[in-house]
């Protein structure tokens, strides 16, 4: 390997390292999800209010997953009490907030939603005993993935509403609609992320793949137990270690998902992928080799001396490649 290539690689790793620290590490550094939810940056909010031009108000679209027993009933009570709240929210009923799959939380974004709410019963009040705690773990981890991918995690919101809290429900919807308004629409210049819409969607797609992956789901499922319970040796996993592990998994899984997506769109060489994704060629090669070994990728052709890989799914769909994929090179 030439000295030049080595330098490039180091630099790329360095960049990734910084990003990890800023994006993912930051997201995971905060212990309590609820705290971050309510800790609204006042100064930032003020700046944003100033930035919105009068008369050009952006009305966000929000999809809410509400549990049947508490929050859906609370929303019904808001209705019977005639408490007006913004029309932005559309509700999907589930039996328990614990039913909301991490992938399902991201689905609405792919359909153009600007924000997603998951509402469950108050802690210790869950109709199914612990479903809301699971929802909490999932939202926490999905937000970490979003942060890593440069998407505002404030677009995904979790809170508790009891069957008697119609007024609280209306208030939460209003608050969240405001919060999403400040974040702007998904994609485009006005969005907080500043990503073009297709790029935003791709990143959500990457996130969705990660949340559908085995490693991620296992960690999410075990998070509560690992952090709160002792193992047979009466040892408890330190929170920091779990977070490091989670950060590592998120970084790796995001990269792999991104490679999968790229090669689904058309054949690509490792070098091109590394360039597009802004990570080291070695990293990409590692994942490409893995994906090839397990039959997700195949060798398409060799141009010059670089082999190009393509996803098996591509051969099946022959989908056309779209321009402007610049994942992680933010």
């Amino acid at each position: 390997m030439s000295q030049q290539a080595m330098d490039d690689m180091n630099q790329a790793e360095h960049v990734l390292g910084i990003e990890q620290a800023q994006g993912l590490g930051h997201a995971l550094g905060t212990e309590s999800l609820i705290e971050t939810e309510h800790g609204i940056d006042k100064e930032k909010a003020f700046r944003d209010e100033q930035a919105i031009e009068p008369g050009k108000a952006f009305e966000p679209v929000i999809v809410g997953f509400l549990c049947n027993w508490c929050s859906y009933a609370g929303a019904d009570l808001a209705g019977t009490s005639r408490l007006s709240y913004p029309t932005n929210l559309r509700v999907i009923r589930v039996m328990c907030s614990g039913r909301v799959d991490p992938g399902l939380m991201l689905e609405p974004f792919l359909r153009g939603a600007d924000g997603v709410m998951v509402l469950g019963c108050h802690p210790a009040d869950c109709h199914y005993l612990t479903g809301n705690y699971q929802a909490e773990q999932r939202v926490f981890c999905v937000r970490a993935v979003l942060e890593h991918l440069g998407i505002e995690s404030g677009r995904l919101y979790l809170d508790w509403v009891s069957a008697s809290e119609g007024a609280r429900f209306a208030e939460l919807v209003m608050e969240f609609a405001h919060q999403v308004k400040r974040l702007g629409p998904i994609g485009g210049r006005e969005s907080r992320e500043g990503l073009p819409l297709p790029e935003f969607m791709r990143r959500v797609q990457v996130a969705k793949r990660v949340t559908e992956g085995e490693k991620f789901r296992w960690l999410v499922g075990r998070r509560k137990a690992l952090l709160e319970e002792e193992n047979v040796y009466k040892e408890q996993l330190p929170g920091r270690r779990f977070h490091d592990l989670m950060s590592f998994v998120v970084v790796e899984e995001c990269l792999r998902a991104a490679i999968e997506l790229l090669t689904e769109e058309g054949p690509m060489s490792v070098k091109d992928m590394a360039e597009t994704l802004g990570v080291s060629a070695r990293k990409v090669l590692e994942h490409t080799a893995y994906l090839k070994k397990f039959g997700f990728l195949e060798l398409h052709d060799v141009i010059g001396c670089s082999p190009r890989y393509v996803s098996l799914k591509h051969r099946l769909s022959k989908g056309e490649r779209q321009e402007g994929f610049c994942l992680m090179s933010l």
């Binding site: 929303a75 007006s84 029309t87 559309r90 799959d101 108050h122 069957a163 085995e214």
Partner: protein, 683 residues
């Protein structure tokens, strides 16, 4: 045959019905536009709008359409499914369709009622909700309900007048009933009252025959001195763990002769008499107690605390004293549960300006009941606690702990540290309903016993809505009770023990500066101690005021959101004795309906496990709160298996499965995804 079409091999034929609900929906949402937007959606065969879809005409229209258009899916855009899902499912069933092929779009509670100020956006939202429902309906699968067994027995929790009445109704119907009471005797707060309003019946004289009836009814088993530890199962088949606290006295052997009490050397404050009198460490709460057996107070018994004494055992001729009793848990299977755990009087120490607890002559209305009761610590003489003198001037202050909007109702929530309810002594926003009449009664009783006494009542409003209430209140006025409109800000104690109240009389506009020998605070009614934990055990919701929430405020006042659990008495909201008894009757009838069924249909919402994808990682097994999914070794390796009877259908396993091998019936991944996609079709 329409039922043939349910087979998923056939294409969906969907009927969409958009309800006007009079003007409830149509007044805000453009119903025709919503209807038309659904017309050309995939699979939709017929779209209609109805004035009232739930009416007989509306329902018949749907039934006819199912036949005529061979519909195999029905989408109804109307009110909340929590209200009418059952109605329409029954309709589908009658029309030969599987009840699970119904989908409802909630365009009333979630749309027209909350977006009345923006008709256009509400219409667009309603369209989105209908599209989402149609998308889900396309993927709905017919499900067969499983049948659960019904244990034809009922548990009544709480032995106050509501619990007693419910038990008697049930026992009278021949239904085996367990009456669980936390205290050593049933009777509840009613047993502590002297008289009842407005008839001035002696409270215990009318209650104790009912208590005796309970004891004699062969269908009722009283589990006194017991508490609910855990509740499992569902309607028709609850398993309740009841902790039986030790009485140290054998209930069967004790005849209540009282020899033990006479000899017991330990005297303690009598909590039944509101700590104003004394009782022994072995005691019976009141003479008419049921079960009529003594109980040893293990906190104060000399033998149980210090290891020597045993006098009661020595004097008991029947050998009923058993020091070696320990608490144990009994598991009881019942088909329905009635919750009648009553209330707790508001503790006025939360309002220090009235000096309760500091000034001996400031008492509460319940203290007053004990003082004036012939069985009370003063044998019916109204002696004020400070110096045992009979007061000549008595003031009553209304709404102590109730209707305090300024302090407000802290409402719902748990203390993060202790897990107990927040602000038990915070004044409440609601009206406790009974205090006006309690005060009217007590003021009348003072006048009756001591015609020369001066009686003043400080009130905000006198609320005397009830049969004979207003007449009783007017009678009190004629007897010379002075009613002053205005709530005193503070009570001061003078050196001679008299209590000075300065307040404004709103009717005359005068400032009144009066002194009294005794002040009675009309304490409000608050949720009973430990209701938060109890509600969690039973999975019940509480209203903002902290009481248990009824199934529907108008139409299901004695039911809860949980099938098979019913409410009676003050645990739902403060109410007087006749209302408690009436609600007990309603709860008993509802419980009897459950018990009269041979089996109960349970919604089949369990998981569907794709064995090809399952890797037996046990994540689902670890996360399932009910132990309803287990990994078993099969010939293809370890695979998850659902245990249908234990499953409640929450879906935690489905959403957690590491290989996404699990989906839930009726809330499948594809249904929810389709909904999430379609809900934003119209923006």
């Amino acid at each position: 045959m329409p039922s043939m079409l349910q087979d998923t091999g056939f294409d969906a034929r969907i009927g969409v019905y958009v309800c006007h609900c009079g003007l409830n929906i149509a007044g805000v949402v453009d119903v025709e536009a919503v209807r038309e937007s659904a017309r050309f959606l995939e699979g939709v065969v017929v779209v209609r709008d109805n004035r009232y879809t739930c009416s007989e005409v509306g329902q018949k229209g749907i039934a006819d359409d199912i036949k005529e258009f061979m519909l195999n899916r029905v989408v109804i855009a109307s009110c909340s499914p929590r209200l009418h899902e059952k109605t329409f499912r029954t309709l589908l069933e009658k029309s030969g369709l599987n009840p699970h092929l119904l989908e409802m779009a909630n365009i009333r509670e979630h749309c027209s009622w909350v977006h009345y100020d923006n008709h256009e956006a509400a219409t667009e939202k309603a369209k989105g909700l209908v599209h989402s429902s149609v998308a889900r309906a396309r993927l709905l699968q017919p499900l067969s309900r499983t049948k659960g067994r019904v244990v034809p027995e009922v548990m009544v929790v709480g032995g106050g007048v509501a619990g007693i009445s419910a038990s008697l109704y049930l026992g009278g119907m021949g239904i085996k009933t367990y009456l669980v009471e936390r205290e050593p005797s049933i009777g509840g707060h009613m047993a502590m009252l002297d008289k009842t309003f407005p008839t001035l019946d002696c409270s215990l004289c009318i209650l104790s025959p009912k208590m005796v009836e309970v004891a004699e009814c062969e269908n009722i088993k009283v589990l006194s001195y017991s508490e609910i530890e855990k509740v499992e199962g569902q309607v028709g088949d609850f398993r309740v763990q009841v902790r039986r606290k030790p009485r140290y006295v054998n209930e069967e052997k004790c005849v209540g002769c009282g020899d033990c009490v006479a000899k017991c050397p330990v005297k303690v404050k009598d909590d039944f008499n509101r700590n104003m009198g004394t009782r022994k460490a072995i005691y019976i709460p009141f003479p008419q107690a049921i079960p009529p057996a003594y109980v040893i107070d293990d906190q104060n018994c000399r033998y149980l605390t210090q290891g020597k004494c045993k006098i009661c055992q020595a004097v008991c001729e029947r050998g009923a004293i058993e020091y070696d009793q320990t608490s144990y848990v009994e598991t009881i299977e019942v088909g329905a549960i009635i919750v009648a755990t009553g209330f707790q009087p508001y503790d006025p120490r939360g309002l220090p300006q009235y000096g309760y607890g500091r000034f001996p002559n400031v008492i509460t209305s319940l203290d007053f009941e004990r003082l004036i009761c012939a069985d009370g610590p003063t044998y019916g003489k109204l002696k004020r606690p400070g110096d045992s003198q009979v007061p000549k001037r008595v003031a009553f202050i209304q709404c102590v702990g109730s209707r305090s909007v300024a302090s407000g109702c802290r409402g719902y929530g748990l203390d993060a540290e202790t897990g107990s309810s927040v602000g038990a002594t915070d004044p409440k926003a609601y009206c406790s309903r009974v205090c006006c009449m309690i005060t009217a009664k007590q003021a009348f009783m003072v006048k009756e016993k001591y015609p020369d006494a001066e009686v003043y009542v400080y009130y905000i409003d006198m609320r005397t809505a009830g049969k004979g209430f207003e007449e009783f209140y007017q009678r009190g006025r004629h007897e010379g009770i002075v009613f002053l409109r205005g709530k005193p800000g503070e009570i001061e104690e003078r050196d001679d023990g008299c209590l000075r109240i300065i307040s404004e009389d709103l009717d005359s506009g005068c400032i009144l500066d009066l002194c009294f020998d005794m002040v009675v605070l009309a304490q409000g009614l608050t949720p009973p101690d430990g209701l938060v934990e109890f509600a969690q055990k039973m999975n019940l919701s509480r209203s903002e005021d902290g009481f248990l929430m009824e199934g529907h405020p108008k139409l299901r006042p004695a039911e809860t959101a949980i099938d098979g659990i019913y409410l009676a008495g003050c645990v739902q909201f403060p109410k007087d004795i006749p209302d408690s008894v009436a609600q007990a009757g309603a709860a008993a009838a509802a419980a009897a309906v459950t018990c009269s069924k041979e089996s109960i249909e349970i919604d089949p919402l369990g998981p569907v496990i794709d064995e090809a994808l399952c890797i037996g990682c046990k994540l689902c097994e670890m996360l399932c709160p009910y132990g309803a999914i287990k990994v078993e070794l099969t010939d293809k390796g370890p695979k998850a298996k659902s245990i249908e009877v234990a499953c409640k259908g929450c879906g935690v396993c489905g959403a957690s499965c590491s290989t996404r091998a699990i989906t839930m019936k009726h809330y499948t991944d594809s249904q929810l995804t389709a909904q999430a996609k379609a809900i934003l079709e119209v923006v």
